[in-house]
Amino acid sequence: MSADLSIVRGKQTLGQRILGFFSRSVVNIILIVVAIFWLIPSVGLFLSSLRTVGDSSSSGWWTIFLEPTRITLENYANLLSNPTITGSFWNTIVIAVPTTILVVLIGSLAGYAFAWMEFPGRDWLLIAVIVLLAVPIQVALIPLAQMFGAIGIFGSVLGVILFHIAFGLPFAIFLMRNFFMQIPSELLEAARLDGASDLRIFFTVVLPLGLPAVASLAIFQFLWTWNDMLVALLFSNSQSQPLTVAIQSQLRQFGANIDVLSTGAFISMIIPLIVFFAFQRYFVQALLAGSQR
């Protein structure tokens, strides 16, 4: 590739080269400006979280550069000793982790069945799953609120988890089926000839081979659940609410509590950002493999 390029370049006239350099610099400048604009929101939030509430209500975060000595971690200390915030942080983990594990497990089992097993009505069931991909969660809010109320899990972490599993499954099944289809059939045949049961094949051959897919799905589902507000807004109460709901309840006093809002929002972003930067390759794969939610 690079050899090709140098040959092509060699043929360019000086004029073309100058033009090329010029257009490259224009592109560079445009994209630098775009990148700066894209960064301003997050950077602004982060810098706001480093200022006292007094500073935040009298001047903008950009003045922090004029008085860098006024930077403080006070807001973080306050929030991390606030039981509502720490409790909801814990709730977020308690909701997101089991949801992710169960969606991956149940979704892979079904995905394997759709990819490698023969049963009547398979195609129609698969099409039903694809249809369910796009169902708005709004259609389930009222019925499930009643159902969960009737069986006594309305307002509990369990209700939130069940809701997320239900609406995470169509995507999980679709994604895992697509990944599992790519496993060479010889590997499965070989395992079958060795007398391995389907369950054994699933756990010893399919899942290990599909590990990148499992990682993609897990990261996607984890971020989805961690960042959810709507489901938790309805199905959790003050004891079981995740971070998003806890922060949202602060919005009514917007202006007087920039310290709580900006710091809380940033705390809620830390885990997703770590996950994102560590595993963004898998996250991208999950999106590419078909995301029509």
């Binding site: 903008g60 694809i130 809010l141 069940l162 929002a265």
Partner: protein
Amino acid sequence: MTQTVVTPAARETGRGDADRLSRRSRRRAILIALAFLAPALVILGALVVYPIVYTLVRSLFDASGSTFVGPENYIEMFRRESTFTAIRNNVIWVIVAPVACTVLGLVFAVLMDKIRWSTAFKLIIFMPMAISMLAAGVIFRMMFQESPQLGVVNAGVVAVHDIFVDEAAYPGANIRPDSGFAKISGAIVSDDAVNDGSTVDVPLIGIRADSLPDDVVNAQTAAPARAGEITGTVWLDFVRGGGGVNGVIDSSEAGLEGIRVEAVDNAGNVVASATTDAEGRYTITDLEPGEYVIALPPSNFDQGYQGVSWLGEAFITGVIILSYVWIWAGFAMIMIASGLSAIDRSLQEAARMDGANEWQVFRRITAPLLSPVIVVVFVTLIINVLKIFDLVYVIPPGVSKPAANVIAVEMWTVSFGGGNDQGLGSALALLLLLLVLPSMIINVRRFREERSR
């Protein structure tokens, strides 16, 4: 159940055992498949499919759920103003947001190819996808605050505005005491009426040096007024470092440019006005003979240009869509970039060799090859935009919430946020389902095409 199906004919031919074995194993395979599927099917059936049916039925009943009302909720849906606003806004969303995200994503993906730091660029644009819409909402609510001292967008807008428009505004200005004027509800008004042909000078104090324009010049005495005119000077009656005589235009005192001076008749009507020049002089002309009070209206002393009321009713939907684009342009970019990388480069190179320019290469080769990816991105975004909730729930302050309404938020408000009408709420939920139906059909069709290929 599984024992009775073997036919006598099969038994007679002697191939019965093998047949039975294969049938049994087939049945066994189906059972195993069912076992693998069972958890998913039970959950999907109970928590997704059943609710859809329930919502459909519930939407035909009234608020309490006890009386059958038929299509009443669906009719009511289009009668209510809030629902109507919601539907209108959803239409705006669906037209603007997916197009904006896709176009930006396409531009970024194409340009990204030409820079060396494309990995960093990709991460920066894509990063908002990882954070919650709540956090994004908090961020954009902060950025678009009205006060230019607090909201970064208005700070920028005011800074740019002040570069191009040199508007006079003297916040906090006051009249020199005992100079024959009084401050009445923000305006500065002369105590006594004067006849036309008079000269009225207005000494102001209390103006901060940094609110004076950079090109300020010294005040000059106005020319004597002719009949039908009133003239005078508005100046800053203050010498830096002291000195000067109060109420007198001293040689080093600044003229105040751009101040509006009005002549008010006995009935209280403003009959004529003038604006001061760089030296602070004004000349009010075309006055009927008579007595007039001289007034400097409050607009001279307000805060000046304060930027745009972004979170007000007029712009709120635009701001929320912008926050959405901030999040989802990265998604479009990633998808399109991967589509680009799958395209055979030699086609483009060949076209360039044949003398095609970059635009022609893009228009004739890249864009057509990309169109399947762009359709996927577009459908995904439309489904997503129709259901938009969090951002619209979080960003608008109370007063502009009604103006920003969308169907998902309306559904929430009607069902749980005080409305408590779950019949109407169910109808709205079903409307959402109906709206994503075309995208579902596209998805299914695409899936079938892919398989038949």
